[in-house]
């Protein structure tokens, strides 16, 4: 019905002013408008609502309830009680501390190694094979990576310990040692993400004008000097972005801790909580300790608030850096 009317109107309009209305209709046909867009958006909109937007609101709501296995339907509203409990929960603060240690070691080693790798790739080779090999750990499942290193670091049959022993030192049970387990996990994560991080930095380096290096070489500057005076300052915005993205990822480490921490036969997060990162503690509360969903959701909310703060700080930082460079 409407289509017919539209056509008639167009005919009239055509008679009066030949060009513009026709153009208009073409444009409308191109652009679509909500009626068309709705159908194209429908599946993703459903996914967004059901698995992102509503859960976000619901998680915050749950964090104010006493939702657990013992209090099923409807969970009692207890206000900020979960958050108060969190504040005085030593285990929570322990897990925050463990996470911070892990993140610091992981991001520190990973970024430095990736930077070295990226510079070497930039100055030595653009080989696709080299980049492909460096990316292999990144495409492997975290659980698998955890498994490989669980074995390599095993106190009795692990390769690393056999090397250590052949050098005359005594073997160590890295993943079941309360002082070494966090560095060991940071090392595993570093192994997994260094190549990927290096490729991101390498991509960033491609935006640095080549003639700067040529000029540097003519001046007789060494590679080290050029790295300090050209690469590093110009890479700063990319480096900052990459570091923040890795930082956010590192805070959310779960798979490696779930599979490798405590070593084979040891408890997850062990020994005695030495490797209980925040994700593990949230998981334990939600799915192991009688489904304390309310408490776990409160923790997850705090974590999300913190990560959002980091993200926004990153955007600030980037904008500041961008104007610096422009």
């Amino acid at each position: 019905m409407t289509a017919g009317q539209l056509g008639a109107n167009d005919l009239v309009a055509d008679a009066a002013v030949p060009k513009p209305p026709k153009r208009n209709r073409e444009e409308r046909a191109l652009d679509g408008g909500w009626k068309v867009a709705f159908w194209f958006l429908l599946p993703s909109l459903l996914g967004f609502l059901i698995f992102y937007l509503i859960p976000t609101i619901r998680a915050i709501r749950i964090s104010f309830t006493e939702d657990s296995l013992t209090s099923r339907n409807p969970a009692e509203w207890i206000g900020a009680e979960n958050y108060r409990e969190l504040w005085s929960d030593d285990r929570f603060w322990d897990s925050v501390w463990v996470t911070l240690k892990f993140v610091a070691m992981n991001i520190g080693s990973q970024t430095i190694l990736a930077l070295i790798l990226a510079v070497m790739m930039d100055r030595l080779t653009r080989s696709l094979i080299v980049r492909g090999i460096l990316l292999v750990p990144w495409v492997l499942p975290n659980v698998l990576v955890a498994m490989l290193w669980l074995f390599l670091l095993d106190p009795r049959v692990g390769f690393v310990n056999s090397v250590i022993e052949s050098l005359g030192f005594s073997a160590s049970s890295f993943l079941n040692d309360s002082t070494l387990v966090v560095p060991a996990m940071a090392f595993i994560n570093t192994w997994k993400f260094t190549g990927y991080t290096a490729l991101l930095l390498f991509a960033g380096m491609q935006t640095i004008p080549r003639n700067l290096y040529e000029a540097g070489a003519l001046d007789g500057s060494s590679e080290m000097t050029m790295f300090r005076t050209i690469t590093l300052p110009l890479l700063k915005p990319v480096l900052a972005l990459v570091m923040v993205v890795s930082l956010i990822g590192s805070f959310q480490m779960f798979d490696v801790a779930q599979t490798a921490s405590g070593g084979l036969g040891g408890e997850t997060g062990g020994p005695s909580g030495a490797s209980r990162v925040i994700y593990i503690y949230i998981y334990e509360n939600a799915f192991l300790f009688r489904n304390k969903f309310g408490y776990a959701a409160a923790m997850a909310t705090v974590l999300m608030g913190f990560l959002m703060f980091v993200t926004l700080a990153q955007l600030r930082l980037l904008r500041a850096n961008e104007s610096d460079l422009a």
């Binding site: 859960p55 030595l124 090999i133 049959v157 290096y213 084979l264 969903f293 990560l307 959002m308």
Partner: protein, 334 residues
């Protein structure tokens, strides 16, 4: 792309030699653990204990352990004993005697089911996600509607939601699905079902929408205008103009989605622990959890299982690696 000084081949200097050496070390450190899985999967458990540092598979049985590492390198007869059997026994049901002869603890690695589940999940997720996100990307890149930027910004903001945050409500949603929904269990909805493992990734991820939108924006409008003059509707333009012209990024996204889905752990770990539905990552973690730490752990079984689970991803990466490598740097930079 004016890479006039590609690789800057300035000839050999000591510095460059050292740099190449360091690069070689990096590459070796990257590949070694993967080789080591294979090496250990080809060994016997007794062999692993007798020669933990041996570079080649150690193929000795209990009684021969004292003779050390060399035994494995001699003669065909010994070589065939372990090599195949570990991989065989984690995939299929070999007899108990064979299992124990290979040093297994009688633990059942039903890797074939997990492999199948992983393939089903990754395939369905990839098809759904790529198609539906391409729809969305088309709406954002080629259509104009009120609130377009707002909806897109909302989609992108979902990138900031950590998975653990939506984990609990998503778990409750899946668990409490009403019984008229297909494939639900009376009590626990889609918990321990493949639809439950697939659902959150099937319809959209913010990254996929963002990724495709960038490419769709770059497609020239002229081709589409020609199609409009031919009287093509939006659906036909989408399938006959946009999809073919964006086939390369669509394919790249499909590979990235497949790999991501294959590697996913937290969600399937929470909703799909049952043996019949668990995917490879969950199964691997479960094998590890069941293996005793003190009395003769079945390392060769674990390594064989690890190796088998890495093969599909490694093969995929070997074939389509270029696309994956080229896509790095897309999301973060620019």
């Amino acid at each position: 792309m004016s890479n006039s000084t590609v690789g800057s081949p300035e000839g050999f200097t000591v510095g460059r030699g050292v740099a190449w050496l360091v690069m070689g070390l990096f590459l070796a450190a990257t590949l070694f653990p993967i080789y080591w899985t294979l090496r250990s999967a080809m060994s016997t458990n007794a062999g692993l204990i007798s020669a933990p540092g041996n570079i080649l598979p150690v193929d000795v049985l209990e009684g021969e352990a004292a003779e050390g590492a060399q035994v494995g390198l001699t003669g065909r007869a010994t070589t065939t004993r372990a090599t195949g059997i570990n991989i065989e026994r984690v995939i299929t049901d070999v007899s108990l005697e064979e299992n124990e002869a290979a040093g297994g603890s009688g633990q059942n690695f039903d890797l074939l089911t997990a492999l199948r589940n992983s393939m089903v999940v990754a395939t369905v997720v990839t098809i759904g996600q790529v198609l539906f996100c391409a729809f969305a990307a088309y709406a954002f890149a080629r259509l104009k509607f009120r609130g377009q930027n707002l909806v897109f910004a909302l989609y992108l903001s979902a990138l900031m939601v950590p998975p653990i945050f939506s984990l609990i409500p998503n778990f409750l949603f899946i668990r409490d699905l009403p019984s008229w929904v297909p494939f639900t269990d009376d009590q626990f909805g889609w918990i321990n079902t493949l639809p439950g493992i697939i659902a959150p990734f099937f319809l959209m991820t913010p990254f996929a929408v963002f990724f495709l939108r960038q490419f769709f924006l770059g497609i020239s409008k002229e081709v589409e205008e020609a199609a409009v003059l031919d009287g093509a509707g939006h659906l036909r333009r989408f399938f006959q103009v946009i999809m073919p012209m964006a086939s390369a990024p669509l394919f790249t996204l499909a590979i990235l989605t497949y790999v991501t889905s294959w590697n996913e752990f937290l969600w399937p770990f929470v909703v799909g622990k049952n043996e019949e539905v668990r995917v490879l990552t969950v199964a691997l973690n479960e094998f590890k959890a069941q293996t005793p730490g003190t009395t003769a752990p079945d390392w060769t079984g674990l390594m064989a299982a690890s190796f088998v689970s890495s093969v599909p991803i490694l093969v995929l990466f070997a074939i389509f690696g270029r696309r994956v490598v080229d896509s790095i740097g897309f999301s973060g930079i620019k």
